[in-house]
Symmetry: C2
Subunit: 493 residues, 2 copies
């Protein structure tokens, strides 16, 4: 057996434990009763340690050295590169730290599920302190190894090839034109009349509607499910993708578009090439590229006029309200493009969303780099929210720094992916429309040409190329924020 | 650290991987879409191999030798004995065989879920052949090591301390009086009028009723859930017990009592002592003792007059049918003690059930010992069903040898546990009534005195004693089939 094949078999083994980890994580969010938490945390920590051990076995260094001397195809070279990237990321962090992070993260995240509801910053802070300390320790170790700042090392986990220097430039640019664009959109929408939905929209009806929309988006139900959790996410494995949502019986709007969003993540996973299943090269390229799929589904497809037309028809059917003006196409269109300055990122509209991300980026960058302390976060959040969107979160941490799940288990460096994803999605759309009649495909109810483009250019490519290469092959250029700006201006001005 | 402590830590680690395995198994039955099966089978096989590796590490033999020289408390000695028992069972079977069995079992079981519905023996046989062959290989290896027959070695996995010689005697005895008892009960019931339920009983209402009954039985919902699967079971871990049922919207009777049964399993798990959590000595004593709890709940509590009175009230409420004579106490009592010769074990009444078990026992004993071949099973099943209950299963394998999940993944040696459990349960009841006012406790709706007896005598004892010791401590004698006979005669004559 060649060293390349040996490495491949080894990474398949790791994948099987990651499968278990993914399903236990999904279950913890979607099913698990509170009393199961300690045993689950211990089991998941043990799996983490084991995966870490497998990922850092001493012989791997030699195997990589020898495999690099073997005659490999281009795809095998890409596969080797991705295995090596994961190996390098894994070897840097000591096993004890991995285990401590998993334990502290599980504990903090689980408690947060009730602490958030109770606006209990003091309680949350006690657990989170440890999560932050361990993340800083990790960031320091990674940063030293890569020769970058601690925060840039965390970014590298989610967005290989991205630095805070480039994000600072990119986000500064967005900050230049975003405030004015928001104000203009608000002014334009001020005179609009919107009929807001008033409940009750039963969970059962909303779920049935969600499943209908997932069918329209060609979600493969033989390889996935829709369930419920406090914080919606896409989990599982490519052959069994688990997406979740949360229903509000007073309002169907957020859950419905949330399902469209998660379906984008899910189709990327379901569309990954089977030939590389279980190998690093067969995984999604990066978090930003993952978000480019969910946001392509949500923003480019989901909020387009012809798709809103489908939603109008399907939702009126689901709630048996054919004459209700709430579900009229024009009204839904207004609801789904309504701009509003709000507290909650996951409820934010497309236009104010980047402001939420940039705020988080600036705080987590400084927190991980040791420029600020974790106890500074509530006040800083308040200050930045006031500056960017004119809203105060003083004594309202449940709608401030405690609103997101990400930081509870140490996923620092993740937030920028959302806005990178939105930018990529706009860029794909600009390219796709050269060859695909986008609106007509949606209107017909058969979105296959759109999914074929995404499959050819993104899903089937998995991690065969670097992010920059992937985007360049798909669109002819690397990330260009101009497409995003143009898209937003087209929709909101 | 003492060797005893080192061993304990090692078995805790194993337990964490078993936690993952248990939850993946539950998920595969309760949630997983068909397309997820291959990846799941691979992941579970990998976990099996890993657990097997941990359970057979070469240093364990030395550790056991050294730990046996250490000064240990009585409980520690019991703990050491149970670790060693698991170690001996694990070391016998080669890793490749464990992996092959897990793969073949997953494949066979998953395909069986549809093949059974389609009465597809030919399709099932193709997968099952491999399962049987691998089980025989396992049984041969275990038998050689233990110096017993292959089948006795399989029995030992589920019922340590039991042999087919003793079961042959025990079951021969039952076969002496059971047929006559069945005929007498049938004769007595011939003139009874029963009003059978006629649907529709919605799944939602049945589930709500099931949850009510679980509350009455003091199931701890902070440490467990109720879900659905084709074949009802109790899975998960003690702090997070997952029970399942299957609903028939034409009839609520089976699902309801099925929930009572699984709740018995669940409360045993939930009642295991926390002090030994994750250690072999903290696990349930044996499959027969596990069944003694589910059957205590189902047969001793569930079919008692005062409990039927609760079911009468709760079911009439759940289906909003207060005047419906179906739900009258006397009618439910007749339904739940109705004797009928039927094909399906899980639908069988208390009195004919042992006949189903003895049939399976005789077939699997001969199959594993190589006396018969797997292709002989359908005809033998038909022959034995005709002899014991006067029913033919010719060309009806879905209601014959394909009806149970157990053999699909190689759980040979398990079936006797059901009838052992029924016998133990009758014996506990006979003892318990010396100190507990059984009927009055149920009538009051507070069953705590009954559960306290079970907790003190069975649940809290976990595997601290051998089966014989456990039963003797609880009831003053080892298994005595006379209590079972007396219980059946009391109820059915």
């Amino acid at each position: 057996m060649s060293k390349y094949d040996q490495l491949s078999a080894h990474y398949q083994t790791i994948h099987h434990f990651n499968h278990a980890q993914a399903m236990l994580g999904w279950d913890a969010a979607a099913n698990m009763p509170a009393g199961g938490n300690d045993a689950r945390s211990n089991a998941m920590a043990e799996l983490s340690v084991h995966v870490h051990r497998l990922s850092t076995q001493p012989q791997l260094e030699d195997w990589f050295g020898q495999a690099e001397q073997e005659a490999l195809t281009g795809e095998q070279q890409a596969s080797l590169r991705e295995m090596k990237r994961q190996w390098q990321q894994a070897t840097v962090v000591p096993e004890e730290l991995v285990q401590a992070q998993s334990m502290a993260g599980s504990k903090c995240e689980h408690a947060w599920r009730t602490q958030r509801q109770e606006n209990d910053w003091a309680g949350f802070e006690k657990n989170w302190k440890e999560v932050v300390a361990l993340s800083r320790e990790e960031a320091q170790i990674r940063g030293d190894a890569l020769g970058v700042t601690p925060y840039d090392a965390m970014l590298d986990k989610f967005e290989p090839g991205t630095s805070s220097a480039s994000l600072d430039v990119l986000f500064s640019e967005v900050k230049l034109w975003l405030p004015e664009l928001i104000e203009k959109a608000l002014a334009k929408q001020r005179s609009e009349t919107i009929i807001m939905p008033t409940g009750r929209f039963s969970t059962a009806s909303q779920k049935a509607l969600g499943l209908d929309v997932m069918k329209l988006l060609q979600f493969d139900f033989t390889r996935g499910r829709l369930d419920e959790s406090v914080h919606p996410f896409c989990g599982g494995v490519p052959s069994d993708v688990r997406i979740t949502t949360r229903y509000d019986e007073e309002d169907f709007v957020q859950a419905l578009m949330g399902i469209v969003h998660e379906t984008g993540h899910a189709r990327y996973e379901q569309g990954l090439p089977n030939a590389f299943a279980g190998l690093p090269v067969g995984e999604a390229r990066s978090m930003g590229i993952h978000e480019s799929q969910s946001l392509f589904f949500e923003m480019q497809i989901g909020r387009s006029q012809p798709f809103i037309s489908h939603l109008s028809r399907l939702s009126a059917e689901a709630f048996n309200a054919h004459q209700d003006p709430v579900f009229a196409e024009e009204n839904l269109q207004k609801i789904y493009t309504r701009v509003e300055k709000g507290f909650i990122r996951v409820d934010a509209d497309e236009l104010t969303y980047p402001a939420h991300v940039i705020l988080r980026y600036e705080i987590e960058r400084d927190l991980i780099n040791g420029v600020i302390e974790h106890t500074d976060v509530p006040a800083l959040w308040d200050e930045k929210m006031q500056a960017s969107l004119g809203l105060s979160t003083k004594d309202n941490d449940k709608n401030g720094c405690m609103q997101d799940i990400h930081w509870t288990d140490g996923a620092f460096g993740y937030f920028p992916s959302y806005t990178l994803g939105a930018m990529y999605a706009a860029q794909y759309k600009a390219t796709m429309t050269n060859t695909v009649d986008f609106d007509a495909a949606i209107q017909s109810g058969d979105l296959s040409p759109i999914f074929q483009w995404l499959s050819d250019n993104i899903w089937s490519q998995a991690s065969l190329h670097t992010t920059d290469e992937l985007v360049k092959r798909a669109t002819g250029e690397t990330l260009n924020a101009a497409h995003f700006k143009k898209h937003l201006e087209g929709r909101y001005l």
